[in-house]
Protein backbone atom coordinates (compact mmCIF):
# COMPACT_ATOMS: atom_id res chain seq x y z
CA UNK A 1 0.00 0.00 0.00
CA UNK A 2 1.43 3.28 -1.05
CA UNK A 3 0.24 6.67 -0.01
CA UNK A 4 1.31 10.20 -0.59
CA UNK A 5 2.91 10.13 2.84
CA UNK A 6 6.08 8.90 1.23
CA UNK A 7 6.82 12.46 0.27
CA UNK A 8 6.56 13.64 3.86
CA UNK A 9 9.90 12.13 4.72
CA UNK A 10 11.84 15.19 3.69
CA UNK A 11 13.69 15.88 0.50
CA UNK A 12 16.57 13.57 1.18
CA UNK A 13 14.60 10.56 2.18
CA UNK A 14 11.79 11.19 -0.20
CA UNK A 15 13.81 10.25 -3.23
CA UNK A 16 14.86 6.93 -1.80
CA UNK A 17 11.38 6.25 -0.58
CA UNK A 18 9.96 7.04 -3.98
CA UNK A 19 12.22 4.58 -5.67
CA UNK A 20 11.76 1.85 -3.12
CA UNK A 21 8.03 2.07 -3.03
CA UNK A 22 7.76 2.26 -6.78
CA UNK A 23 9.14 -1.23 -6.90
CA UNK A 24 6.50 -2.56 -4.57
CA UNK A 25 3.44 -1.75 -6.55
CA UNK A 26 3.63 -1.11 -10.22
CA UNK A 27 0.69 -2.86 -11.84
CA UNK A 28 -2.64 -1.31 -12.69
CA UNK A 29 -4.73 -4.03 -11.08
CA UNK A 30 -3.54 -3.44 -7.51
CA UNK A 31 -3.62 0.30 -7.28
CA UNK A 32 -6.99 1.99 -7.22
CA UNK A 33 -8.56 0.45 -4.17
CA UNK A 34 -5.48 1.17 -2.15
CA UNK A 35 -5.73 4.91 -2.58
CA UNK A 36 -8.75 6.12 -0.61
CA UNK A 37 -6.75 8.48 1.56
CA UNK A 38 -4.89 10.10 -1.26
CA UNK A 39 -7.94 10.43 -3.46
CA UNK A 40 -10.12 11.90 -0.77
CA UNK A 41 -11.96 13.96 -3.34
CA UNK A 42 -13.81 12.70 -6.37
CA UNK A 43 -12.66 9.24 -7.41
CA UNK A 44 -10.26 9.11 -10.32
CA UNK A 45 -12.07 9.12 -13.60
CA UNK A 46 -10.65 8.20 -16.94
CA UNK A 47 -12.57 9.89 -19.70
CA UNK A 48 -11.13 9.85 -23.17
CA UNK A 49 -8.39 12.33 -22.67
CA UNK A 50 -5.74 14.02 -24.70
CA UNK A 51 -3.94 16.88 -23.06
CA UNK A 52 -1.44 19.24 -24.64
CA UNK A 53 0.07 22.51 -23.57
CA UNK A 54 3.06 24.52 -22.64
CA UNK A 55 4.26 27.82 -21.33
CA UNK A 56 5.68 29.19 -18.16
CA UNK A 57 5.00 29.48 -14.44
CA UNK A 58 6.80 31.58 -11.84
CA UNK A 59 6.14 30.10 -8.42
CA UNK A 60 5.49 31.11 -5.72
CA UNK A 61 3.73 33.90 -7.62
CA UNK A 62 0.28 33.31 -9.12
CA UNK A 63 -0.47 30.52 -6.66
CA UNK A 64 -3.68 28.65 -7.49
CA UNK A 65 -4.68 27.89 -3.93
CA UNK A 66 -8.33 27.29 -4.79
CA UNK A 67 -7.65 24.45 -7.19
CA UNK A 68 -4.55 22.89 -5.66
CA UNK A 69 -6.34 20.29 -3.54
CA UNK A 70 -8.80 19.35 -6.27
CA UNK A 71 -9.25 15.62 -6.65
CA UNK A 72 -7.56 14.97 -3.31
CA UNK A 73 -4.19 16.31 -4.33
CA UNK A 74 -2.01 17.24 -1.36
CA UNK A 75 -1.33 20.90 -0.54
CA UNK A 76 2.02 22.19 -1.68
CA UNK A 77 5.02 21.21 0.46
CA UNK A 78 2.87 18.96 2.66
CA UNK A 79 4.78 15.89 1.49
CA UNK A 80 8.10 17.25 2.67
CA UNK A 81 9.36 18.48 -0.67
CA UNK A 82 10.76 22.02 -0.47
CA UNK A 83 9.44 24.91 -2.55
CA UNK A 84 10.60 24.95 -6.14
CA UNK A 85 10.49 28.64 -6.94
CA UNK A 86 11.42 30.80 -9.90
CA UNK A 87 11.09 30.48 -13.62
CA UNK A 88 9.76 27.15 -14.92
CA UNK A 89 9.02 26.53 -18.61
CA UNK A 90 7.36 23.42 -19.96
CA UNK A 91 5.63 21.64 -22.81
CA UNK A 92 3.71 18.40 -22.83
CA UNK A 93 1.39 16.07 -24.68
CA UNK A 94 -0.24 13.03 -23.10
CA UNK A 95 -2.85 10.59 -24.32
CA UNK A 96 -4.78 8.77 -21.61
CA UNK A 97 -6.26 5.30 -21.71
CA UNK A 98 -8.19 3.17 -19.23
CA UNK A 99 -7.12 -0.21 -17.95
CA UNK A 100 -9.79 -2.63 -19.15
CA UNK A 101 -9.84 -4.56 -15.90
CA UNK A 102 -9.64 -1.82 -13.30
CA UNK A 103 -10.77 1.23 -15.20
CA UNK A 104 -7.76 3.07 -13.88
CA UNK A 105 -6.26 5.76 -16.01
CA UNK A 106 -2.79 5.42 -17.42
CA UNK A 107 -0.78 7.25 -20.05
CA UNK A 108 -0.75 5.44 -23.38
CA UNK A 109 1.85 7.78 -24.81
CA UNK A 110 3.24 11.15 -23.99
CA UNK A 111 6.13 13.55 -23.70
CA UNK A 112 6.70 16.03 -20.90
CA UNK A 113 9.53 18.57 -20.79
CA UNK A 114 10.03 20.80 -17.76
CA UNK A 115 12.88 23.27 -17.21
CA UNK A 116 13.64 24.88 -13.83
CA UNK A 117 15.72 27.83 -14.90
CA UNK A 118 17.24 29.05 -11.61
CA UNK A 119 18.77 25.60 -11.05
CA UNK A 120 19.41 24.96 -14.75
CA UNK A 121 17.72 21.62 -14.51
CA UNK A 122 15.73 20.08 -17.35
CA UNK A 123 13.55 17.00 -16.93
CA UNK A 124 12.15 14.89 -19.73
CA UNK A 125 9.52 12.16 -19.48
CA UNK A 126 8.82 9.92 -22.45
CA UNK A 127 6.03 7.35 -22.50
CA UNK A 128 5.26 4.90 -25.27
CA UNK A 129 3.00 1.86 -25.45
CA UNK A 130 1.75 2.53 -21.96
CA UNK A 131 5.07 2.48 -20.15
CA UNK A 132 7.73 4.97 -19.14
CA UNK A 133 10.72 4.75 -21.49
CA UNK A 134 13.12 5.16 -18.59
CA UNK A 135 11.87 2.49 -16.18
CA UNK A 136 9.35 0.43 -18.17
CA UNK A 137 6.68 1.07 -15.56
CA UNK A 138 3.07 2.04 -16.15
CA UNK A 139 2.46 5.74 -15.64
CA UNK A 140 -0.86 6.23 -13.89
CA UNK A 141 -2.96 9.32 -14.31
CA UNK A 142 -6.22 10.83 -13.11
CA UNK A 143 -8.61 13.45 -14.41
CA UNK A 144 -10.94 15.35 -12.12
CA UNK A 145 -12.87 18.62 -11.98
CA UNK A 146 -11.11 21.45 -10.21
CA UNK A 147 -12.47 23.06 -7.07
CA UNK A 148 -13.26 26.33 -8.81
CA UNK A 149 -15.66 24.58 -11.16
CA UNK A 150 -14.04 26.19 -14.17
CA UNK A 151 -12.46 23.13 -15.71
CA UNK A 152 -10.57 19.90 -15.26
CA UNK A 153 -7.13 18.83 -14.13
CA UNK A 154 -4.92 15.91 -15.05
CA UNK A 155 -2.27 14.43 -12.79
CA UNK A 156 0.36 12.31 -14.50
CA UNK A 157 2.45 10.03 -12.33
CA UNK A 158 0.28 8.90 -9.44
CA UNK A 159 1.92 7.77 -6.23
CA UNK A 160 1.93 4.08 -7.18
CA UNK A 161 5.10 4.68 -9.13
CA UNK A 162 5.10 8.40 -9.88
CA UNK A 163 7.06 8.42 -13.13
CA UNK A 164 10.71 8.56 -14.09
CA UNK A 165 12.27 11.55 -15.79
CA UNK A 166 15.65 11.91 -17.41
CA UNK A 167 17.62 14.81 -15.95
CA UNK A 168 19.59 17.18 -18.23
CA UNK A 169 20.11 14.47 -20.83
CA UNK A 170 22.96 12.84 -18.94
CA UNK A 171 22.60 13.44 -15.21
CA UNK A 172 20.55 10.38 -14.41
CA UNK A 173 16.91 9.76 -13.58
CA UNK A 174 14.50 10.62 -10.80
CA UNK A 175 10.85 10.36 -9.83
CA UNK A 176 8.53 13.21 -10.75
CA UNK A 177 4.85 14.11 -10.95
CA UNK A 178 3.09 16.53 -13.31
CA UNK A 179 -0.28 18.25 -13.02
CA UNK A 180 -2.04 20.55 -15.47
CA UNK A 181 -5.42 22.25 -15.26
CA UNK A 182 -7.44 23.49 -18.22
CA UNK A 183 -9.64 26.19 -16.74
CA UNK A 184 -10.79 28.02 -19.85
CA UNK A 185 -12.16 25.19 -21.91
CA UNK A 186 -13.49 26.45 -25.20
CA UNK A 187 -13.37 30.07 -24.10
CA UNK A 188 -11.04 32.88 -25.00
CA UNK A 189 -7.74 31.83 -23.58
CA UNK A 190 -6.55 33.59 -20.47
CA UNK A 191 -3.09 32.53 -19.50
CA UNK A 192 -3.73 33.16 -15.87
CA UNK A 193 -6.52 30.67 -15.46
CA UNK A 194 -4.77 27.52 -16.63
CA UNK A 195 -2.37 26.10 -14.08
CA UNK A 196 0.54 23.68 -13.77
CA UNK A 197 2.35 21.90 -10.94
CA UNK A 198 5.62 19.96 -10.95
CA UNK A 199 7.08 17.82 -8.20
CA UNK A 200 10.52 16.21 -8.39
CA UNK A 201 12.32 14.00 -5.91
CA UNK A 202 15.71 15.56 -6.58
CA UNK A 203 17.63 12.30 -6.32
CA UNK A 204 19.53 12.94 -9.55
CA UNK A 205 19.07 16.65 -10.13
CA UNK A 206 19.70 17.83 -6.59
CA UNK A 207 16.77 20.10 -7.30
CA UNK A 208 13.90 18.32 -5.63
CA UNK A 209 10.84 20.36 -4.88
CA UNK A 210 7.23 21.26 -5.44
CA UNK A 211 6.12 24.27 -7.46
CA UNK A 212 2.62 24.14 -6.04
CA UNK A 213 -0.26 24.53 -8.45
CA UNK A 214 0.51 27.80 -10.22
CA UNK A 215 -1.35 29.86 -12.81
CA UNK A 216 0.53 30.20 -16.07
CA UNK A 217 2.50 33.39 -16.67
CA UNK A 218 2.09 32.62 -20.34
CA UNK A 219 1.13 29.74 -22.55
CA UNK A 220 -1.89 27.49 -22.67
CA UNK A 221 -3.18 24.11 -21.55
CA UNK A 222 -5.84 22.37 -23.60
CA UNK A 223 -7.75 19.20 -22.89
CA UNK A 224 -8.79 18.06 -26.35
CA UNK A 225 -10.50 14.96 -27.59
CA UNK A 226 -12.05 14.38 -24.19
CA UNK A 227 -15.54 14.79 -22.76
Amino acid sequence: MLTHTILRLGPGLAAAALLAMACQDSTPSTSVKGKPNFWAGPPPQCPAGKWTGGGRIDPPGNYDAVDETSGGMPPRYSDGLPPMNGKVTFGFNVFLAADQNTGQCFVQKGEIQVNHHPARVAWHVSIHNGVDDFDNATVFAAVFPDNSGRGFCVVVGLPETFMTARVNANRGFEKVQFEACDNDRGQRQNSRTDAMRWRASGSASGDGGDTGLTYLTGGNIVEHGGP
Partner: protein, 237 residues
Protein backbone atom coordinates in the same frame (compact mmCIF):
# COMPACT_ATOMS: atom_id res chain seq x y z
CA UNK B 1 26.17 21.58 -28.27
CA UNK B 2 24.99 18.37 -26.77
CA UNK B 3 22.06 16.75 -25.12
CA UNK B 4 19.85 17.38 -28.10
CA UNK B 5 16.67 15.42 -28.23
CA UNK B 6 13.37 15.61 -29.98
CA UNK B 7 10.20 13.81 -29.17
CA UNK B 8 6.67 13.89 -30.34
CA UNK B 9 3.42 12.19 -29.94
CA UNK B 10 0.83 12.19 -32.62
CA UNK B 11 -1.26 9.90 -34.67
CA UNK B 12 -4.19 7.70 -33.93
CA UNK B 13 -6.79 8.09 -31.27
CA UNK B 14 -5.90 5.74 -28.48
CA UNK B 15 -9.30 4.95 -27.06
CA UNK B 16 -12.40 3.48 -28.50
CA UNK B 17 -14.45 5.98 -26.53
CA UNK B 18 -12.73 8.75 -28.42
CA UNK B 19 -13.88 7.51 -31.78
CA UNK B 20 -17.18 9.36 -31.66
CA UNK B 21 -15.52 12.62 -30.77
CA UNK B 22 -12.96 12.18 -33.47
CA UNK B 23 -15.62 11.54 -36.04
CA UNK B 24 -17.51 14.64 -34.94
CA UNK B 25 -14.41 16.74 -35.27
CA UNK B 26 -13.77 15.46 -38.75
CA UNK B 27 -17.01 17.03 -39.85
CA UNK B 28 -16.67 20.25 -37.90
CA UNK B 29 -13.06 21.16 -38.37
CA UNK B 30 -11.27 19.20 -41.03
CA UNK B 31 -9.30 22.23 -42.21
CA UNK B 32 -7.80 23.16 -38.87
CA UNK B 33 -4.07 23.29 -38.53
CA UNK B 34 -1.51 24.26 -35.93
CA UNK B 35 2.17 25.07 -36.21
CA UNK B 36 5.01 25.84 -33.87
CA UNK B 37 8.74 26.40 -33.85
CA UNK B 38 11.28 27.46 -31.26
CA UNK B 39 15.01 27.96 -31.15
CA UNK B 40 17.38 29.59 -28.71
CA UNK B 41 20.01 31.07 -31.02
CA UNK B 42 20.80 31.88 -34.63
CA UNK B 43 24.00 33.53 -35.82
CA UNK B 44 24.84 34.69 -39.33
CA UNK B 45 27.70 37.17 -39.22
CA UNK B 46 31.07 37.78 -40.82
CA UNK B 47 32.54 36.63 -37.52
CA UNK B 48 30.94 33.23 -37.74
CA UNK B 49 27.66 31.42 -38.14
CA UNK B 50 25.49 28.93 -36.36
CA UNK B 51 22.12 27.65 -37.52
CA UNK B 52 18.88 27.53 -35.57
CA UNK B 53 19.94 25.88 -32.35
CA UNK B 54 18.54 23.96 -30.59
CA UNK B 55 15.58 23.76 -32.92
CA UNK B 56 12.20 22.30 -32.02
CA UNK B 57 9.56 22.08 -34.74
CA UNK B 58 6.02 20.90 -34.19
CA UNK B 59 5.36 17.79 -36.26
CA UNK B 60 2.13 17.51 -38.26
CA UNK B 61 -1.01 17.16 -36.15
CA UNK B 62 -4.29 15.72 -37.39
CA UNK B 63 -7.63 14.55 -36.06
CA UNK B 64 -7.99 15.55 -32.44
CA UNK B 65 -4.40 14.79 -31.68
CA UNK B 66 -1.60 16.79 -30.20
CA UNK B 67 2.16 16.79 -30.36
CA UNK B 68 5.17 18.06 -28.50
CA UNK B 69 8.77 18.58 -29.59
CA UNK B 70 11.70 19.81 -27.58
CA UNK B 71 15.41 20.29 -27.99
CA UNK B 72 18.19 21.29 -25.64
CA UNK B 73 21.80 22.33 -25.73
CA UNK B 74 24.24 22.84 -22.89
CA UNK B 75 26.23 25.67 -24.50
CA UNK B 76 26.90 27.56 -27.70
CA UNK B 77 29.86 29.73 -28.62
CA UNK B 78 30.48 31.58 -31.88
CA UNK B 79 33.66 33.47 -31.13
CA UNK B 80 33.19 37.21 -31.02
CA UNK B 81 29.52 36.96 -31.92
CA UNK B 82 27.56 35.03 -29.30
CA UNK B 83 27.98 32.82 -26.31
CA UNK B 84 25.21 31.31 -24.24
CA UNK B 85 24.28 28.24 -22.23
CA UNK B 86 21.31 26.27 -20.86
CA UNK B 87 19.56 26.45 -24.21
CA UNK B 88 16.05 25.01 -24.36
CA UNK B 89 13.34 24.98 -27.01
CA UNK B 90 9.86 23.53 -26.67
CA UNK B 91 6.81 23.59 -28.92
CA UNK B 92 3.47 21.86 -28.62
CA UNK B 93 0.16 22.00 -30.42
CA UNK B 94 -3.24 20.42 -30.43
CA UNK B 95 -6.41 20.12 -32.45
CA UNK B 96 -9.60 19.89 -30.43
CA UNK B 97 -13.33 19.99 -30.86
CA UNK B 98 -13.74 23.33 -29.07
CA UNK B 99 -10.24 24.77 -29.11
CA UNK B 100 -7.06 24.29 -31.07
CA UNK B 101 -3.78 25.89 -30.30
CA UNK B 102 -0.03 25.94 -30.34
CA UNK B 103 2.48 27.21 -27.83
CA UNK B 104 6.25 27.59 -28.04
CA UNK B 105 9.01 28.52 -25.64
CA UNK B 106 12.69 29.22 -26.24
CA UNK B 107 15.26 30.23 -23.66
CA UNK B 108 18.96 30.97 -23.36
CA UNK B 109 21.07 31.80 -20.30
CA UNK B 110 24.34 33.70 -19.82
CA UNK B 111 23.85 35.55 -23.07
CA UNK B 112 26.82 37.53 -24.37
CA UNK B 113 26.54 39.16 -27.79
CA UNK B 114 29.40 40.84 -29.66
CA UNK B 115 31.91 40.71 -26.84
CA UNK B 116 29.65 42.18 -24.19
CA UNK B 117 27.81 44.74 -26.28
CA UNK B 118 24.58 43.03 -25.19
CA UNK B 119 24.34 40.77 -22.16
CA UNK B 120 21.56 39.09 -20.26
CA UNK B 121 21.45 36.54 -17.50
CA UNK B 122 18.57 34.86 -19.29
CA UNK B 123 16.10 35.38 -22.11
CA UNK B 124 12.76 33.61 -22.45
CA UNK B 125 10.51 33.79 -25.50
CA UNK B 126 7.02 32.47 -24.93
CA UNK B 127 4.12 32.57 -27.40
CA UNK B 128 0.74 30.96 -27.78
CA UNK B 129 -1.93 30.93 -30.44
CA UNK B 130 -5.46 29.67 -30.05
CA UNK B 131 -8.58 29.41 -32.16
CA UNK B 132 -12.05 28.90 -30.74
CA UNK B 133 -15.52 29.57 -32.03
CA UNK B 134 -15.24 33.27 -31.17
CA UNK B 135 -12.05 33.87 -33.10
CA UNK B 136 -8.30 33.36 -33.25
CA UNK B 137 -5.65 35.17 -31.26
CA UNK B 138 -2.05 35.03 -30.11
CA UNK B 139 0.06 36.56 -27.36
CA UNK B 140 3.61 36.63 -26.03
CA UNK B 141 2.80 36.62 -22.33
CA UNK B 142 5.71 35.37 -20.27
CA UNK B 143 8.42 36.66 -22.61
CA UNK B 144 11.07 38.33 -20.47
CA UNK B 145 14.69 39.36 -20.09
CA UNK B 146 16.70 38.87 -16.92
CA UNK B 147 19.17 41.69 -16.22
CA UNK B 148 19.45 42.80 -19.82
CA UNK B 149 22.18 45.34 -20.61
CA UNK B 150 22.55 46.95 -24.04
CA UNK B 151 25.67 48.98 -24.81
CA UNK B 152 26.31 49.47 -21.13
CA UNK B 153 22.79 50.61 -20.37
CA UNK B 154 20.72 48.42 -18.05
CA UNK B 155 17.38 47.72 -19.70
CA UNK B 156 15.81 45.37 -17.19
CA UNK B 157 16.57 44.80 -13.53
CA UNK B 158 15.70 41.30 -12.53
CA UNK B 159 13.23 39.45 -14.72
CA UNK B 160 11.05 41.82 -16.72
CA UNK B 161 9.39 42.38 -20.05
CA UNK B 162 10.32 45.05 -22.59
CA UNK B 163 7.79 46.77 -24.82
CA UNK B 164 7.28 44.97 -28.13
CA UNK B 165 9.53 46.05 -31.00
CA UNK B 166 11.84 48.24 -28.94
CA UNK B 167 14.61 49.33 -31.30
CA UNK B 168 17.98 50.66 -30.18
CA UNK B 169 20.84 51.88 -32.33
CA UNK B 170 24.21 50.25 -31.86
CA UNK B 171 26.72 52.79 -33.21
CA UNK B 172 29.16 51.28 -35.64
CA UNK B 173 27.35 47.96 -35.52
CA UNK B 174 23.75 48.41 -36.59
CA UNK B 175 20.73 48.16 -34.36
CA UNK B 176 18.91 45.74 -32.10
CA UNK B 177 15.19 45.06 -31.79
CA UNK B 178 14.10 43.77 -28.39
CA UNK B 179 10.95 41.68 -28.09
CA UNK B 180 10.50 41.79 -31.84
CA UNK B 181 6.96 40.63 -32.56
CA UNK B 182 5.75 39.55 -35.99
CA UNK B 183 2.03 38.77 -36.07
CA UNK B 184 0.16 36.90 -38.78
CA UNK B 185 -3.36 35.75 -39.54
CA UNK B 186 -6.69 37.55 -39.73
CA UNK B 187 -7.70 37.19 -36.08
CA UNK B 188 -10.90 35.45 -37.05
CA UNK B 189 -10.00 32.10 -38.47
CA UNK B 190 -6.25 32.28 -38.14
CA UNK B 191 -3.60 33.80 -35.92
CA UNK B 192 0.11 33.49 -35.49
CA UNK B 193 2.96 35.20 -33.72
CA UNK B 194 6.73 35.10 -33.84
CA UNK B 195 8.70 36.73 -31.08
CA UNK B 196 12.45 37.26 -31.34
CA UNK B 197 13.60 38.46 -27.94
CA UNK B 198 16.94 39.84 -29.14
CA UNK B 199 17.40 40.48 -32.84
CA UNK B 200 20.65 42.21 -33.77
CA UNK B 201 20.89 43.57 -37.30
CA UNK B 202 24.49 44.10 -38.33
CA UNK B 203 24.92 46.89 -40.86
CA UNK B 204 27.66 48.54 -42.83
CA UNK B 205 27.81 51.64 -44.99
CA UNK B 206 28.25 50.80 -48.64
CA UNK B 207 28.28 52.82 -51.81
CA UNK B 208 29.66 56.08 -50.38
CA UNK B 209 32.08 57.69 -52.77
CA UNK B 210 33.89 61.00 -53.18
CA UNK B 211 35.15 61.99 -56.60
CA UNK B 212 36.83 65.34 -57.15
CA UNK B 213 35.34 66.65 -53.96
CA UNK B 214 31.84 65.52 -54.79
CA UNK B 215 30.61 62.95 -52.34
CA UNK B 216 27.75 60.57 -52.80
CA UNK B 217 26.20 59.28 -49.60
CA UNK B 218 26.16 55.57 -49.14
CA UNK B 219 23.45 53.37 -47.79
CA UNK B 220 23.31 51.10 -44.79
CA UNK B 221 23.02 47.49 -45.78
CA UNK B 222 22.48 44.49 -43.60
CA UNK B 223 25.54 42.32 -43.31
CA UNK B 224 24.39 39.82 -40.74
CA UNK B 225 22.10 39.07 -37.86
CA UNK B 226 22.00 37.45 -34.46
CA UNK B 227 18.81 36.17 -32.85
CA UNK B 228 18.46 34.97 -29.29
CA UNK B 229 15.19 33.47 -28.07
CA UNK B 230 12.77 32.88 -30.92
CA UNK B 231 9.35 31.30 -30.55
CA UNK B 232 6.58 30.93 -33.12
CA UNK B 233 3.03 29.63 -32.87
CA UNK B 234 0.16 29.58 -35.33
CA UNK B 235 -3.38 28.28 -35.76
CA UNK B 236 -5.93 28.24 -38.54
CA UNK B 237 -9.36 26.76 -39.13
Amino acid sequence: MNGKSMHWVSGLAVLGIAVGLTAGFAVAGAAQSVSGKAYSTYVNTPLGSSGYSPLAVLPPVSGTDGAEADAAGSALNVAGALSSDFLNSITSGELGTTESGAQSTASAASVNILNGLITADEVVANVMSSVIQDGAFSNADGSTFTNLVVAGVPITSGDAAVAPNTSTTLPGVGYVVLNEQIPSGDGVTSSGLTVNMIHVYLQSLTGATCVLGVCTPGALTNTGEIIVGSATSGVAR
